[in-house]
Each structure stands twice: as structure tokens, then as C-alpha cells.
Subunit: 356 residues, 2 copies
């Protein structure tokens, strides 16, 4: 009997690309509060780096009073904190933009969350001592390669303004869900920037540099910029804070269901503030009813799960919608903010089902 009588049925990462590896979380099929690392979405700009763990050091340099070089042991000895943080790719839901935009065609699963443990970046900056004139903190990863639009080789590097770098919850993480960070997610050290899209959360940290100017690396000045126009760069501005957003996990888009009771469920999240309300419409937006939001996260760094019981007697086609609101009274817009590179899609979540 070579096969189990009742085979295990499980979802997998959804492959978007392999060179470099880009795979999204099957978010519609995962109802747990944290994502196992094996199903955590993978978003890479380059091939995985080959770094030497056995001789790993973290330098902090630039505009500091004392340049430092921390060993992993040094980092582990410093006071730590553990935060439940959602990481969302700035390109999550890119495939929903109309007109379509180029780039990885992420559906709704370039988002995952779990518990990250680490040392505040602030602590390291205090140990090194920032000099006057410090404007940004650049975090560089070990991953590097050639871009399609430039002929030079670049490492993946991003900067944070000082106020965000010294925020006590911006951490240099070394654990995910109580285990060392998996290699594909940044082992041994990954920057975690709560509230910002995940391009800021640099993996495989190589060095930290304090600078007195605006960082102009291509992942700061070319990518991860909102370009409102197709043909020119007018009105461009950087991608930073995660927008208020939601996803319906169940039912699935274009699913066929029975008449009767159905549970509509999903998640909602926001960079600024907390989720205060999720409203659901089962008639294409004519009327809205509040869903039951079951999990409120104190810091607001994690998503909130929500449910809505729907009783439907009449056969036919229905448009189901979800709209999240945060504590700054920001809500998902009816139409997305189209931008050339396809970042920050957060229009009202919408699916169709057929009742028969």
C-alpha cells in the first residue's frame, strides 16, 4: 500500500518567478495567525547571496563617532524585543491594476506575518553614536546583481530617514517565529521596519552606514517610487507606509456556491494606526455591513482577521466587497491609485460568486 488512504491536502507557494525566486503565499488558503516560514512569500531582486556565516560581522560606519563591528554574539547579548509584524511587498496585488503594469504579476499573496525577534537598530546607532548632520541610515544586503535598466552591478540597499531608523520598533531581527531566520528570509540578520512596505526590510544585512544626504541607490531612486504617469516621471514620490487594505480569503473569486449560509472571511491591515472597521457588501457596494473583526493587534503592525456571515436565498451572481478603515479614518478607495510600476494597490477588495 504505497499511498496513504486519505492523502494530505495542502497549499503551496505560488510561483511567479525562479530567477530570482519570487513566490507568493497562498493567502486565500491560510487561516492561521502567523505564516509558517515555508509558506512565507519570497521576493528577491537577485540570486541568493553566498555569505559566510562562520565569520559573520555586522559593521556600522559612516557618520558615527565610533565605527563598530558587531559579532552575532554581540547582537544576541543586547536587549531584544519580539514583534508581530506583517510584511507586504509594495507590488502585492499588482496584477489587479488596469491598465496592466509590467513587473511580477503578484496576486494577493505577497504578504505574510509572524513574530520577529531582534535588537532595535536604535540600540546599535546609540552604541556607535551618530554625528551631527546625520540624515539617513543606509542598510545594505549581501544580495547583488545586474539590473535590466542599468549596466552596472548593484547590491540591494535601502535607506531610512533618521526618525524611522531610531523608532524603537525598527529592529535588526535574528529570529522568525522563535527560530533563526530562514536563509531565504535573511539569515542571519534582517532589518524589520514595521508599517512600511517590505522593500525596507533588507535581508542578509552586510553593513549599516549613517549618511548626511539622500541615498540614491536604484532601489530607492528608480524602484519603489510611485510614478503617477505612464510616459514621464512628474509627480513621483517614494513608496513608504503600507496603505490600509484588505483581502477576502473565502469564498474565492468566481466560485460557485449553494444557497444558504456562508462565512465570508479575510484579513485587513494598515501601516498607519490600527484597523478600526471592516465593512462588507454583498450587493456590489449598494449597502455595507460591518464584519466581525476578531483580532486587534495592539501595535497595529499585524493584520486583523475578520468574518461576516452571509445568508443568501436567491440564485444568481453576486459581487462581494470588503473595505477596511484605519484609526486615521483612511479607508480603501473605490479605484486604485494607478502608478507605472504598480505599487501600493489597495482599492476596495472585490470578488464575484455565483449562487446556484
Amino acid at each position: 500500500m504505497p499511498y496513504p488512504l486519505y492523502p494530505f491536502v495542502k497549499p503551496y507557494l505560488m510561483t511567479r518567478g525562479l530567477q530570482p525566486e519570487n513566490q507568493e503565499t497562498p493567502i486565500q488558503f491560510i487561516k492561521t495567525d502567523t505564516i509558517d516560514y515555508q509558506l512565507f512569500y519570497r521576493r528577491n531582486h537577485f540570486a541568493y547571496p553566498g555569505l559566510s556565516y562562520s565569520n559573520y560581522w555586522l559593521p556600522i560606519n559612516g557618520l558615527v563617532k565610533t565605527a563598530k563591528c558587531f559579532s552575532l554574539q554581540d547582537i544576541l547579548r543586547l536587549p531584544s524585543k519580539t514583534l508581530k509584524v506583517v510584511l507586504e511587498c509594495a507590488g502585492n496585488k499588482r496584477s489587479l491594476f488596469e491598465p496592466k503594469v509590467f513587473g511580477e504579476q503578484w496576486e494577493k499573496g505577497a504578504i505574510s506575518q509572524g513574530y520577529w525577534k531582534g535588537v532595535p537598530l536604535r540600540t546599535l546607532l546609540e552604541l556607535a553614536g551618530m554625528k551631527e548632520g546625520a540624515k539617513e541610515v543606509v542598510v545594505e544586503g549581501y544580495d547583488y546583481g545586474r539590473r535590466t535598466d542599468l549596466d552596472t552591478v548593484h547590491t540591494y540597499a535601502r535607506s531610512l530617514p533618521i526618525y524611522k531608523a531610531i523608532h524603537p520598533d525598527t529592529i535588526i531581527a535574528y529570529e522568525y517565529n522563535n527560530r533563526p531566520i530562514p536563509f531565504k528570509h535573511g539569515y542571519p540578520l534582517r532589518l524589520i521596519v514595521p508599517q512600511w512596505y517590505a522593500m525596507a526590510s533588507v535581508k542578509w544585512i552586510k553593513q549599516i552606514s549613517v549618511i548626511d544626504s539622500d541615498f540614491t541607490g536604484p532601489f530607492q531612486s528608480v524602484d519603489y517610487v510611485y510614478y503617477p504617469h505612464k510616459e514621464n516621471d512628474e509627480g513621483a514620490f517614494p513608496v513608504t507606509t503600507i496603505k490600509v487594505n484588505s483581502t477576502i480569503q473565502k469564498p474565492l473569486n468566481m466560485e460557485v456556491l449553494n444557497t444558504g449560509k456562508h462565512i465570508i472571511e479575510g484579513i485587513a491591515w494598515t501601516g498607519k494606526g490600527n484597523i478600526t472597521k471592516v465593512e462588507v457588501s454583498t450587493n456590489g457596494g449598494k449597502t455595507w455591513t460591518e464584519a466581525k473583526v476578531s483580532q486587534q493587534n495592539k501595535e497595529g503592525y499585524a493584520w486583523s482577521a475578520w468574518k461576516f456571515e452571509w445568508s443568501v436565498a436567491a440564485k444568481g451572481e453576486y459581487t462581494l466587497m470588503a473595505k477596511a478603515t484605519n484609526s486615521y479614518n483612511q479607508e480603501q478607495p473605490a479605484t486604485p491609485f494607478w502608478n507605472r510600476k504598480g505599487y501600493g494597490y489597495n482599492a476596495i477588495e472585490k470578488i464575484k460568486v455565483k449562487i446556484e
Copy 2:
């Protein structure tokens, strides 16, 4: 050092549903000639059945001279053949229809192929002896459940007209790629009907019945029927033979590439006849050039891989297209045959890329 220095990057099945399990092959990322069973697409109508292997018998009954009941050992002792056969879900590419249709939103991966070994159904029918008046052969699986549109419980069952049932290449298979058929793909016995969409290739065979009328089970008379109209059933006709079709595997839709040389590659397949030609257009269909078709399958039951070298110097947006033709001079149409349940999508394959 808990993680490998250069982690293995691999594609996974793309999850469309888990109850029942429906997952598609990451076809864009697989360039091998046969699909490993772990990446073979899974399409189920119901939960996996609980069948007893230790006491497995295959009955053949109905309009036969001698009703039979074969043990697995009986089947294994009969003369067998091994065929390379593509199985394609009738709903493959359903997500591409406009207007959208309800049902599983398959992209381009509800298709897989490999070597199936088994005994011709014809052999079993000859051993039982069909009586005069025999019109169809019904093959019933062990899987069963409730449908959304009917209140009764049904097993999954399909019929074949006699000419197709006695075709020497319609086989009762017990091996896939030289191993017992994996449970999820029909262990211990699965009907394999080359040239037809895979709804005909019934898994977990429970019994075979010869009948003197048209079989009217719901998977024959409700599903797997082309309904050309949204609001009525006029002009309906059954889904049978696989249409001539092709898929571009590389590059990916909406991918951003460099100027220079690129290999466009993919697969082409057909139910009737063989693939005789694959043409590629890199200018949205204005001009077409023949691709190099590297694999021709004698019986025409398998797909043909093809490649096309594209040199591109000018930056900009390009629409890449592929069009397959078979030996009956059927070619992929410019527009798909829209039908309410979304079967048999085979319009000219089309993707967009950006050169920068």
C-alpha cells in the same frame, strides 16, 4: 549552520482550491518532457475517496455476455502498452475568457504529461464480450459527493462511445512514469483516453458498465458541455477532443527584459492529428515566423516543445504571440470560443513584455 549556502529554488503546484483539491502545474517553469507526479496538476470534483486496495476488484458489467470481475493481478497479467499522453483539463486557461466565467480560475497549467502504462479497455471488453445494442461504456470512479446545483449525491462517472472505448490506445492504466499511479492521480487504476480532455480519464475506477443508451450522469450532461450562451442552453454540445493549442513558457507575461537575444519557448499540443507548425509573432500578430519544433510525438498524444530566437534592439513594449497548427490544418483562433462554463480555451497565445 542550519541552512544551505545556495538554497534550492523550485516551483510548486499553484493552488486553486483545497476542498476539493485543485492545483495546477507551474507549467511556465517546467521544461522537462514529462511531469514528475508531484507537479502533475490535480483536479478533483470531490474529496479523495477511501477505497480498499487490499481487496480491490474491477467489475465489468451491463450489456456483456459474461460479467467479469478482474483482480489487480488479472490486469497486470494482460498485454500492456505504454503511451506518452498529455492530460489537459477542459477548463485549462479558463481565467483568460472575457467575459469571465465562473468555476476554477485555471491559468495555463491544468495540463501535464508523462508515460501511462496499462491494458487496453478493449481487451477487457473483449473478455467480457459486448452484446448487440451496446452504445456506450460507462466508467465510474470511487469519488463521490454532493454538487452545488443538485441535492443528490453522485459518483464521478463518464461514458465513452463504443468507437472510443475500443480504440486500442484507450487504456486502463496502472503505472505513471514507471511507478504505480500515485493515489491522487487514480491509484490503483485510471482510465486514460488520449486525445480527449481529461474529464474522460476517470480516476480510481470502481466499475465499467456497457449500456445501450446515452449516459446522462451530471458530469456528462450538465458539466463538460459547451454552452455558447450565457442565459440559455441553445446549441449545447459535449466537450470531447482537445483543441489545437499552445503556451508560451518563457518569457513570462508582463516580464521586463534587456535588449539583446532572448529565447521564446513553449509547448504546443492537439487532440486531432499532430502539431505541424508553431508560428511566433513578436509584433502583435503583424508578421509571423515559424518556431523550431523540437519534439514530434509519433502518435500525437503528447505535446511538442518549441523555441524561437528573438533579437530585439529597440526598447519598448512588445506583444508576443504563438499559434499552433495541426495536421488537419486546424489552427488556434484569434478569439476564443466563449462558452458559459469556460471549456476549451485555445485562442492564440499572447503575452506582453517590456524591453528596457
